[in-house]
Symmetry: C2
Subunit: 120 residues, 2 copies
DNA sequence: AGTACTGTACTAATGACATGATACAATAAT
DNA sequence: ATTATTGTATCATGTCATTAGTACAGTACT
């Protein structure tokens, strides 16, 4: 089961989540994933939806499938590290732009971040 | 015209954008908006889609309509200020959680933010 | 040899989103 | 009074996401 945002396609959210697990090291490079059906069951979605998410991740060369033995995380650790850096940069850039549009200056933003960090 | 993300409903993106303009002060409290048809034309969407976005913002008490004279931003400046703070907090919290899931510690995150800030 | 599991493919049904095209009632402007 | 503009409502159509159900081909295991 999983908590989905109804305003975005589920397969996209699945992609994001799995991508996150890979870059965070929860799925290490080269390791084997559960089967499509099992993953679908874990997340409470239809196997077709999970299949779609995994296929897309395959097109991005993050996963690869072996027709009958299963699906695996890419063995290319450099690619994973690169993605981690890229995702982090994108997320931060997006936040900075959003905050800028709301009229937050750099100092305002930094102090807000500091105060929220302390609460966590 | 506007650059939409095809993975999210347009009316939601319109809501976000208009909300942002309000909290940023581009539309000041109590001021009048352009007509549904004009706004739809500006953003390159169907009037029905724009109508939907505006109706939703009305349900959130950010706008109010006067049946024949037009649509206006709420006159409640406190509500706008509160929303600004709320949105900013949510965005920052979300980033912090995401970065944490990717294995970024507080120091790593802060230095990444600093370096990206300097590029902008 | 046979069974179970793998990814993969296909069809059909449903619902949400978006667009196009009209139409109406109420008010402002002329 | 007439006209233009306002928000609003409705209907039809097309696309996409999601689910359900079924099926097939290849491999590992027993």
């Amino acid at each position: 089961m999983y908590d989905f945002d109804s305003n975005r396609p589920i397969y996209i959210q699945l992609m994001d989540h799995i991508k996150m697990q890979i870059v965070a090291g929860a799925f290490s490079a080269g390791s084997k994933l559960a089967s499509v059906r099992d993953l679908a069951s874990d997340f409470g979605v239809n196997p077709n939806t999970m299949q779609r998410a995994l296929s897309e991740l395959e097109r991005e060369d993050l996963l690869f499938a072996q027709r009958t033995s299963g699906r695996f995380v890419t063995a290319d650790q450099q690619k994973i590290d690169g993605l981690r850096k890229q995702l982090a940069t994108e997320y931060v850039q997006q936040l900075l732009e959003t905050m800028k549009r709301m009229g937050y200056g750099k100092k305002d933003l930094l102090s807000l971040i500091q105060s929220i960090m302390e609460e966590m």
